[in-house]
């Protein structure tokens, strides 16, 4: 269409296209759009005194994982159903609370206003069957209507696929059978550091003769005001990480350096996709390596939130409540998720009524709702001190420790999940990186605090634990023009846990001379991150090597699992 890039002409073309008027409704509204729809239908006031004033609306939007004007990365919020569907049960709770503030209204009339002829028969029937008490049942009707009306409509504009999460734990509630049969009960936690961690600023090659010249004032050394923490004769750890240093000295931590996924471009979003999909090249994927690895493990029984290991139910339903499900845990294996509950949950009655609606119209949604009941059980058994309340201030240190520490609490329980993943944002240090003092130093300090929280909260299970911290790629070897580093290639993978044969830095060190740098700018990758991950999956969880090569990391047969990581 030649319109000289006229956006109004594009919008008009969208409206006039016949495809725009097909009745099929296949997409989920983003949380913010869903909120607006709910407010519009009920003519709700946003004024200061109203129950849903702007502060409340913003808090709810944040609770649903889409904090207004605060996307975690420059690619904005995802527009795909896969990214948001796991948060649907949370929407029900919110709709329920919202409905509680409505003046009693006729649910059938609301349905007619909101959907008119496009309301499904099941929705109509469910509404019609409701008891005529305006008080108690207005809530469930309101919630039901809001949910039905606002969940499943097509966005006119679509956006690129994009995947991210923020601190929500996603976990597998099974016991890996082979490991279990050996008398072990392994725990495995993957933490994805989004934004590309500067590996050279995390673990500095202080023994490399070219190191100091390469980074100048920004080079961590064993001398100076904030000396790095010595790991061995060649490598030293950022001084912000005393916990990791202590674990390393206790043979409970491993650093793998000059390590990278097979990705050799420098896009965060392709890089994160590849890190999480486990594929050898950027390509669309609807599942992640961790999920596929779990799907391949025989289960020794599902972990029951109510306290006992029940019969083998491999292939049970997926279940997640969280803002955005990260790709690494998406896929066929049943995965639970947990994020802090900050809204009074919908009543069981409401949930049941919605289940009735969606069992007929949308099995996927019904699945998500069905499992939300079990979520509540896990959460309450997990942390009784967890109180609902307003969103907390986004203080990174507390946030990292809360997210990671809570993950550990779940993994530590005898009836808790065994394998988990979460993602921590904020590592994209283009500007004023602050390696020894400043931003990166604080972030690493927060991460170190999170490791400490994991160790503490795992309790005795720590000795069967492996935590791996991975990032999409590294950063430029040299400092850029604004005291930061731009997107690079190789970086570190950090491993911690009592199950490790630790106290080692594993690196086939490429050197830092100009000729040794990758494309004359980045640390050259000499270890494939997939070898590390495969080594852990094989020796810790007892995943099958051939499955790892063919299915978990497709086409990785030549990348052998790294042996000897587990003690």
């Amino acid at each position: 269409m030649d319109s000289d890039g006229n956006l109004k002409a594009v919008a008009k073309a969208l409206v006039t296209a016949d495809e725009a008027w097909t009745p099929a409704r296949t997409k989920l509204k983003r949380p913010s759009e869903w909120l607006v729809s709910m407010l519009r239908l009920t003519s709700a006031s946003l004024n200061a005194g109203a129950p849903w004033n702007i502060g409340r609306v913003l808090a709810v939007q944040a609770t649903l994982g889409e904090s207004l004007w605060r996307p975690p990365a420059p690619n904005g919020w995802p527009d795909t159903e896969a990214a948001w569907i796991d948060g649907v049960p949370h929407r029900l709770d919110i709709a329920n609370e919202f409905a509680g503030h409505l003046p009693s209204s006729d649910p059938a009339a609301l349905l007619e206003s909101g959907l008119g002829p496009i309301a499904s028969h099941n929705t109509r029937d469910t509404i019609a069957r409701g008891e005529p008490h305006p008080g108690s049942c207005a809530s469930c009707h309101g919630a039901g209507i809001s949910a039905e009306i606002t969940m499943r409509f097509v966005h006119a504009p679509t956006r690129r696929e994009m995947l991210l999460a923020s601190g929500t734990l996603f976990a597998w509630a099974h016991l890996p059978r082979l490991a279990y049969a050996e008398g072990r009960d392994p725990r495995f936690l993957t933490i994805i550091l989004r934004g590309a961690l500067d590996g050279l600023a995390t673990v500095a090659p202080v023994g490399d003769p070219d190191w100091a010249a390469l980074r100048g004032d920004n080079a961590l050394t064993l001398e100076g005001k904030t000396p790095a923490l010595k790991l061995n004769d060649f490598f030293a750890l950022n001084p912000a990480m005393p916990n990791l240093h202590r674990l390393f000295k206790a043979n409970q931590a491993i650093v793998v350096h000059a390590c990278a996924t097979p990705y050799r471009e420098r896009s965060h979003f392709d890089g994160q996709d590849l890190l999480e999909s486990g594929l050898a090249k950027p390509a669309p994927s609807d599942s992640g390596w961790l999920n596929r690895a779990l799907a391949s493990l025989a289960s020794a029984g599902r972990v029951d939130p109510h306290g006992s290991v029940t019969a083998n139910v491999k292939g049970g339903k997926a279940f997640a409540v969280g803002p955005v499900t990260p790709l690494v845990v998406r896929g066929p294996a049943p995965v639970l998720s947990w994020s802090p509950q900050r809204i009074q949950p919908a009543s069981a009655d409401t949930v049941q009524r919605l289940l009735d609606v969606y069992r007929h119209t949308d099995v996927k949604l019904a699945g998500a709702i069905d499992e939300s009941i079990k979520l509540a059980a896990i959460e309450h058994s997990g942390d009784k001190a967890q109180k609902p309340g307003g969103p907390r201030p986004a203080q990174v240190r507390g946030y990292f420790a809360e997210a990671a520490g809570t993950a550990a609490k779940f993994l530590a329980q005898p009836d808790g999940p065994r394998v988990g993943a979460l993602a921590l944002d904020g590592w994209d240090t283009h500007n004023n990186e602050g390696i020894a003092q400043g931003r990166l130093s604080q972030l690493l300090g927060s991460l170190d605090g999170a490791l400490g929280a994991i160790e503490t909260n795992m309790g005795p299970a720590w000795r069967e634990t492996v935590v791996i911290l991975v990032t999409e790629f590294g950063r430029t070897a040299r400092i850029n023009g604004t005291d930061g580093t731009d997107h690079g290639t190789a970086t570190v993978a950090l491993l911690a846990g009592g199950a490790l044969k630790g106290g080692r830095v594993i690196a086939d060190w490429p050197g830092l001379k100009t000729a040794n740098l990758y494309e004359n700018r980045d640390l050259k990758p000499t270890t494939d991150l997939r070898a590390v991950l495969k080594g852990l999956l094989k020796d810790h969880l007892r995943a099958d090597e051939r499955v790892l090569a063919d299915n978990v990391f497709p086409g990785s047969a030549t990348v052998k699992p790294m042996a000897g990581l587990i003690g």
Binding site: W69, P74, G76, G116, P157, N431
Partner: protein, 335 residues
């Protein structure tokens, strides 16, 4: 009205708009397509009816606010230290006898930065909730997300940015939208271009600074061509060099804002490194008489790139809709 009309109306409202309100299905059932088209043709479509501070004013206000907060906390610390030194009974007594800034009683409500943010958020929600259909508002939200910035990096300008850069062009030309977005101080700050400069430029040499390729990469990867869109690392680096000099005065620089007694003097001082007379061909495209304010400076200072491509230069863009190009596009929202 027949059911088909109502069905199309419901689709129009949910698919293109922000959902139905009480009577909106019936209201547009006669001609749903026509209703969407007239939403686009509404006079003032895309703009907000409320008056809110410009990004310049908001940034200045937040900078002043933070400077004052810092000063207050410093005074309190000083008083505490003095109290400890003189062995007085309590720091509070010492504070009472120490000269303090006269501060008005604490206003109710959230602190100023949050207040600015909430006012912007309320205006955005009001527009979406109150719209007849909300098609144009959906487009605003779409482009705002496509060209997103984050309040985590700058809370003062994030709302104004949407009004000034996105709303002003949401129904205009993509090229104008792109330039408004990429040259907005909030974007230059968000993607780190404010301090990116040629290593061999005068400012680069004197400050031992150089380029930062963040904005250049994301323009190519996220805003225009798309990842794997046919560009190379060398293109990113070259583009970053082209973009050096796209910067803004830094109203939020704490070193400057800290001297709260003469904030305007500080702002002009901040702008000096960017607009120094020794800089060749410095062109200000934003000059508001009521300074202190933001200023975008375009200058060519990277010797390896003698000129910017015409499509990237605000001075060279076609001026179809704004004959007075000195009025930057992103202030047009202040209606």
């Amino acid at each position: 009205l027949n059911s088909r009309g109502k069905e199309a109306a419901a689709l129009a409202l949910h698919r293109f708009g922000f959902g139905a309100s009480r009577d909106s299905i019936a209201a547009i059932a006669a001609d749903p397509r026509g209703a969407l088209l007239s939403d686009l043709d509404r006079p003032g479509a895309g703009f907000l009816a409320v008056k809110l501070p410009s990004s310049a004013a908001a940034a200045r206000a937040v900078s002043d606010f933070r400077a004052e907060e810092q000063a207050k906390s410093k005074l309190a610390q000083r008083a505490k230290k003095e109290a400890e030194a003189t062995g007085m009974a309590s720091a509070n007594d010492a504070a009472a006898s120490t000269p303090t800034m006269s501060t008005p009683p604490k206003p109710s409500g959230p602190p100023l930065p949050q207040q600015i943010f909430e006012n912007e958020a309320a205006a955005r929600y009001d527009a979406a909730v109150g719209a007849d259909i909300g098609f144009v508002e959906r487009l605003v939200w779409f482009w705002s997300n496509h060209f997103c910035i984050s309040a985590d990096k700058d809370v003062a300008m994030v709302g104004a940015y949407e009004r000034e850069a996105i709303r002003a062009h949401v129904l205009g030309r993509f090229a104008d939208l792109l330039i408004a977005v990429e040259s907005h101080p909030a974007m230059l700050y968000y993607l780190d271009n404010v301090r990116s400069m040629g290593a061999d430029s005068i400012a680069g040499i004197n400050g031992d600074k150089g380029i930062n390729e963040n904005l250049a990469r994301e323009i190519l990867e996220l805003h225009t061509l798309g990842v794997r869109g046919g560009y190379s690392q060398a293109d990113v680096t070259s583009f970053a060099k082209v973009l050096t000099g796209w910067t803004s005065t830094d109203a939020a620089d704490p070193r400057m804002a800290a001297s709260f007694s003469s904030t305007s003097a500080c702002t002009s001082r901040v702008s000096r490194p960017c607009s120094a007379g020794s800089m060749p061909k410095a062109v200000s495209i934003r000059a508001v008489p009521s300074s202190p304010t933001w200023r975008i400076i375009r200058r060519r200072r990277n010797t390896s790139h003698k000129s910017s491509p015409a499509t990237l230069s605000p001075t060279n863009r076609r001026r179809r809709s704004s004959p007075n190009w000195q009025e930057p596009s992103w202030t047009a929202t202040e209606i």
